[in-house]
């Protein structure tokens, strides 16, 4: 294909799909490049469940109301102000129409009275989860004429004198080639799935990290952009990480390996001594506190110790717990020193922290844990048209970015449940629309 595409979208996650569909619906030619094989297309939306939307009144898919003001306040609270106010406002405002837009593009949503989803007035749930949503969007994109290639990794190369971009393409099956584009929307996700990149920012400890999401969001595109002079936001050494089951896969463990039962037991490190994550408690935010705490342990490994009572209270996990009839048995099964573990348990029971339960009733159980990276607070700077802002503050009318690769503009730190998908969909749609508008001139 020697022709020049109006819009080339790099990355077939939620942001890329929304950009491609929005651009195509605006009447321009669109090519979508996704480096993962088709079984793993869709990026991290595959692992996501719900997304946050503003709504003034109850709808079929979300109860009660969630005002723009509340969303902005929530955002300001978790980011402690580390957020571009203009982009934040745009995100919040456009979240109000994103659910209907996704539905119009084939995504079925789940009604709150169907199944067992928890009550949530802030978020809506795609029926069947993120992967079902991704499948629906791929079908729609195909139907409306977006040219889609999976197994195709893009590397940005150069801009020619007429302003068009040339993109180098590596595919699993054919020899390297290059394609031309009038505009590019980069939706290649954040950094963090590349072990070498992680090691360069987190040291040797990074080898003990799990990556909860897709290995294909490898950050090479982000590195290309930074090398080309793109401005950056956020901090590569700050990431969102949670405790995950150490027995899970290095990549792509998704939601099911997250250890949810920490508030019902006690955590010890490899020396069987109790550790605590300051201020973790039982709030939903405790997840994000435990990740870094475990990352600081020797071997990036810690153990959650539960008794029969705590296990009963806990939500089911993907892997069965390791169990022992006595604390000594359990220590043995875990390869920990029995005497130290017994001491730690006794000390814990003797001086129970507020809200904690004693570890007393057999059978005892344990989960080995490691830190699992969800995403890194680092990406390219964009303006409110989703144009990449260069380090010297220039911007380029033909180069856009959306989704996790620019998320740090809005969430410089912290996280809100359901924000990632909303951000990818809203900014993806916006970037696709802006790119098409540029093509139309």
């Amino acid at each position: 294909m020697s022709s020049t595409w109006d819009v080339v979208v790099i990355g077939g996650g939620l942001a890329g799909l929304c950009a491609a569909i929005a651009a195509r619906r605006a009447g321009v030619s669109v090519r979508l490049l996704e480096c993962a094989p088709s079984a793993f297309r869709g990026g991290n939306a595959r692992h996501a469940r719900n997304f946050r939307v503003v709504h003034e009144a109850p709808t079929r898919y979300v109860p009660d109301a969630y005002q723009a003001r509340e969303f902005l306040d929530d955002l300001a609270r978790v980011t402690q102000g580390d957020s571009n106010p203009c982009l934040a406002q745009r995100l919040v405002a456009e979240s109000e129409t994103i659910a209907a837009w996704l539905m119009a593009n084939g995504v079925p949503l789940q009604q709150p009275n169907v199944g067992v989803v928890p009550y949530s007035r802030r978020t809506v749930f795609p029926l069947g989860g993120g992967k079902a949503m991704i499948n629906a969007l791929y079908s729609t994109a195909t139907d409306i004429g977006v040219a889609i290639s999976t197994d195709s990794e893009a590397r940005l190369s150069r801009q020619s004198s007429n302003g068009n971009w040339s993109i180098d393409l590596t595919t699993a099956t054919s020899s390297p080639s290059s394609i031309d584009a009038r505009t590019i929307v980069v939706c290649a996700g954040g950094a963090g799935a590349d072990p070498a990149w992680l090691r360069s920012h987190y040291g040797d400890a990074a080898d003990g990290f799990m990556v909860r999401g897709t290995p294909y969001a490898n950050g090479r595109m982000l590195a290309d952009l930074i090398a080309a002079g793109a401005g950056t936001v956020g901090d590569p050494t700050i990431c969102h990480m949670v405790a995950v089951d150490a027995r899970g896969p290095r990549f792509d463990g998704g939601i099911v390996t997250r250890i949810t039962a920490i508030p019902y037991g006690m955590v010890v490190d490899g020396s069987a001594r109790r550790i605590d994550a300051t201020g973790a408690g039982a709030e939903p935010t405790h997840y994000a506190r435990w990740g870094p705490r475990i990352a600081a342990c020797a071997g990036q490994t810690a153990y959650l110790i539960l008794d029969a009572d705590g296990l009963q209270r806990a939500a089911p996990q993907a892997f069965p717990p390791i169990s022992g009839a006595t604390i000594a048995d359990l220590a043995e099964a875990l390869g920990l020193d029995p005497a130290t573990l017994a001491q730690s348990v006794n000390a814990f029971n003797a001086a129970l922290p507020a809200g904690a339960h004693p570890i007393a009733s057999a059978t005892f159980a344990a989960y080995p844990m490691r830190p699992g990276v969800t995403f890194v607070h680092h990406g390219v700077a964009v303006d409110d048209h989703m144009r990449i802002v260069w380090a010297d503050d220039r911007r380029n009318d033909t180069l856009f970015a959306a989704g996790m690769i620019m998320a740090a503009n809005v969430i410089g730190r912290g996280y809100l449940a359901g924000l990632g998908l909303t951000l990818a969909a809203v900014f993806g749609r916006l970037a696709g629309t802006e790119a098409a508008r540029h093509v139309h001139g």
Binding site: G115, F125, F319
Partner: protein
């Protein structure tokens, strides 16, 4: 009541592994009742596996929606896993139990038995009726009974039907006993209406709204539609038989009946409609992705559909050629197929209907007993 049996075979272990991942995930909870039924479960007894596998309608929605489908290392394939458990649940509960053992290779068994019965019927007719009656191009009143006397025809049909009903009934009872819910009788009563609605409407072939993944990644309502069409056609032919019985006993008129009579019209329309449904379902089986299914279950489906199709086709052939010399043999062949169909019914795919109905009743009963449950907030 449920038995806390602990089987350690491979299939059970795989089902437990997969369900454990699903319970931790639950992203598919809106697709079908299997997911609400595993919510917050830490372990699964064999009775639960039997229940869950029959609650699954094999809509395949959770295969395409699964973030852990192979090549992911978790290799979750819930539809295929549940299909294998479901097939075992049939084998374990069939009655008489010896059928369960024969169920090991159901397709060969079904083909062999039906062929044998058809041949036996043909042989009987050839040996017992005079050639004049058999090849006489006779369609006057009572002609059918000159091929095979009414008493034998009705006797064989009645006996084979009774066998089918008794076996399937007892199998369903055995199945219900191993997995009946632990709920008050009141809840069970309250569950009857909603369960019946789910059974009749095939609601769970709706994939929670958009339809099931009949053949691939896209959803449609075709399977549900063709299943309804097939059952409607079957109901038509069943009514045809009932009306014929009324003609015979109440009105004293013997078959064959005129084209414009109720039995013939119901049979004709029902037969054609049923064939349309069967063709649709076979077409879907033929095009469907094989990965999320269990090969033996597919073979069972196809065998059953082909057998039902042959019964219907042969019935229509009798009607079409009843004025020709071929009528005698066609009728004998059709009757042989009908007898054979009923004889093999208790170890054919037909058992899915009462087993699934039982599972839906348990699901509805548990829902009725639970009432409004409190939900966790995910923020």
């Amino acid at each position: 009541m449920s038995t806390a049996d602990t089987s350690t075979d491979e299939l059970t272990a795989e089902a437990e592994r997969v369900l454990r991942i699903c319970t931790a995930c639950m992203y598919c909870d809106g697709l079908c009742p299997v997911f609400p039924a595993i919510d917050d479960k830490h372990e699964f007894r064999l009775s639960d596996l039997n229940y869950l596998s029959n609650l699954c309608h094999n809509c395949r929605g959770c295969w395409y929606a699964c973030q852990y489908a192979p090549p992911h290392p978790f290799a979750v394939n819930l539809p295929a896993t549940l299909a294998a458990v479901r097939r075992r649940s049939y084998a374990d509960h069939l009655w008489p139990p010896v059928l369960g053992r024969a169920f090991g290779s159901p397709v060969t068994g079904i083909a062999a038995i039906v062929s044998l019965i058809v041949l036996a019927t043909l042989a009987f007719v050839l040996l017992s009726s005079p050639p004049a009656a058999l090849f006489g191009a006779d369609d006057s009143e009572g002609a059918f009974y000159r091929v095979l006397p009414w008493s034998i025809m009705a006797g064989a049909a009645g006996a084979s039907l009774l066998w089918a009903v008794a076996c399937i009934g007892l199998a369903t009872l055995r199945f219900w006993r191993t997995m009946a819910p632990d709920v008050p009788r009141g809840a069970l009563l309250r569950a009857l209406a909603p369960a019946l609605r789910d059974i009749v409407t095939l609601r769970h072939l709706g994939g929670g709204g958009p339809g099931c993944n009949d053949v691939g990644e896209r959803t449609s309502h075709h399977r549900r539609l063709f299943h309804h069409v097939m059952v409607a056609g079957f109901a038509g032919t069943a009514l045809s038989t009932v009306s014929a019985a009324i003609y015979h006993h109440a009105l004293g008129v013997a078959a064959p009946y005129p084209l414009a009579s109720l039995p013939v019209l119901l049979g004709l329309v029902g037969g054609v409609v049923m064939l349309a449904g069967i063709a649709g379902l076979l077409w879907i089986e033929h095009r469907a992705d094989t990965e999320p299914s269990d090969r033996t279950e597919v073979a069972l489906n196809v065998t059953f559909l082909i057998l039902l199709g042959l019964v219907t086709l042969s019935g229509l052939a009798v009607l079409a050629f009843r004025e020709t010399p071929a009528m005698g043999l066609l009728l004998a062949g059709h009757l042989g197929l009908v007898f054979g169909f009923f004889v093999v019914l208790p170890f054919s795919k037909a058992v899915h209907a009462p087993f699934r109905a039982a599972a839906l009743l348990r699901a509805a009963a548990e829902k009725a007993a639970a009432g409004a449950r409190s939900k966790r907030d995910r923020g």
